[in-house]
């Protein structure tokens, strides 16, 4: 459907307010002590196992943040990195983080340094383990492939936005026998992670990672709010499928009028300048 949404329409505004309201309400409820229960996310429990394995074998952990710049996806990957780094610090393991974006680079270094400091082992942090490789996709991939092989990493965690290089990183890790956990909202790369990794975190589970790993009330509440948001979307779909079916029945199956009306409604914004 060809919708013009350069600016929010009334529908968009109401929907986003509703979704944000649901999420915020559950966050504050959880902070107020109503800690909810969430289901297990299998891949995430494997992270601890992966770091433990690195310690046993005396080999490093690799953590790739994907190709994203400073956006929501990469921030979530950094949150997971924080958890991995604290575990690694606790067990005195190394975490190698190849970075693709110069803006992300200092943030990554700080996340790692803080994690080692928080576990009381600041001396274990090696600045050389956070490496800016390249901002070019395949130069980055070749570098990561080299690191995985040379360091013979014990486990490899791939979190963030990935593109065609996903399978290069995952298959290289598989070849050195690393335990691999991947998570990405880049849906088209998930099949390759499923094929080459031990555990893959799919779709929205990616955003549930920090809640599951930290059991922090804010995150748990947020997750429940997200569930309510999905119910709201599902309800919208079910109701509108009903409306569309009714339209189809009463208009002899001709749906153009329905689409026109729908487009008009979805784009409608009171107070917008004339001439649209």
């Amino acid at each position: 459907m060809d919708l013009r949404l350069e600016h929010a329409s009334l529908f968009v505004l109401v929907l986003e307010l509703l979704l944000c309201g649901l999420i915020l309400a559950r966050i504050f409820a959880a902070r107020g002590g109503r800690i909810p229960f969430i289901r297990r996310i299998p891949g995430l429990s494997a992270i601890d196992e992966g770091v433990g394995r690195a310690t046993e074998m005396g080999r490093p952990v690799l953590f790739s943040l994907g190709l994203g710049g400073l956006d929501i996806v990469t921030l979530q990957a950094l949150a997971v990195l924080g958890h991995v780094a604290r575990l690694a610090a606790r067990y005195a393991s190394r975490v190698i983080v190849p970075v693709v974006d110069a803006v992300i680079f200092p943030v990554t270094e700080e996340v790692l340094r803080d994690a080692y400091a928080a576990e009381g082992k600041p001396e274990l942090f090696q600045p050389e383990d956070v490496r800016f490789l390249s901002d070019q996709q395949f130069a980055y991939a070749s570098g990561v492939m080299g690191i995985i092989n040379r360091e013979s990493v014990a486990s490899s965690f791939l979190f963030g936005s990935f593109f065609a290089e996903s399978l290069i990183l995952a298959e290289a890790g598989h070849q050195v026998g690393a335990v691999q956990v991947a998570g990405t909202p880049s849906t088209t790369q998930i099949p390759f992670f499923i094929a080459a990794c031990d555990y893959t975190i799919i779709g929205e589970e990616y955003y549930a990672a920090s809640a599951y790993l930290t059991q922090e009330p804010t995150f748990l509440g947020s997750l429940i709010g997200q569930d309510w948001g999905k119910i709201a979307l599902l309800a919208t779909i079910v109701i509108m499928v009903g409306v569309a079916s009714l339209w189809s029945l009463t208009h002899g199956g001709a749906m153009t009028g329905f689409e026109e009306k729908l487009t008009g409604f979805l784009q409608y914004m009171p107070g917008a300048a004339a001439g649209r």
Partner: protein, 208 residues
Amino acid sequence: MNLDLAIWALAALSTLAIFSILYRENPVYRLFEHIFIGLATGYGISILWTQVLLPNWWTPMAGDGKWPWIFALVVGLMFYTIYTPRYAWMSRLLMATLMGMSAGIFFQGFARLYIPQLAASFLPLVQPEPPYVLFRNLVIVVTIVTVMTYFFFSFEHRSKVVRGSASLGRWLLMIAFGAIFGSTVMARMALLTYRIWYLLQGRPEIGT
């Protein structure tokens, strides 16, 4: 020396060096990996200057006399305070502002990405649509509903309906992932075919 021949020879050597990692990591791969990263960095620098900083910053400032653009450099320098614990907070302030901006941008992105898709899911499920259209619509709606229930984090254990829907959703998801995998194979094979052809030709008249 013939430049085209030199280019062909270098390109063939590069290809073999990269492919050598398929056997095992080795000094030749390592050398070319470092050359590649060096070239990419150099390429990045020249692109950064010619396509980003020169037209967007230097020319407006030094050419068109818009001197306040120098403040962009001052702000940019705040990144580098990260190396001094005393001033590191400045870099964090800059970073936090950028994060806030990307959060704000997501509110726009959400609407533009997902609202049209939401609207496209409002499909009729009853007559007098032709049967194959109805079947298609039914599959689309059922897939959307069941896959979305798979991603519920709190309801799964309470209701049998949700559990059933979620596992159907996961099955449909796997079919979709398989289809993506299959549809990518040909494009990847075409890439390799051309690389091998390039090597086999042994002559420099073909593009890299």
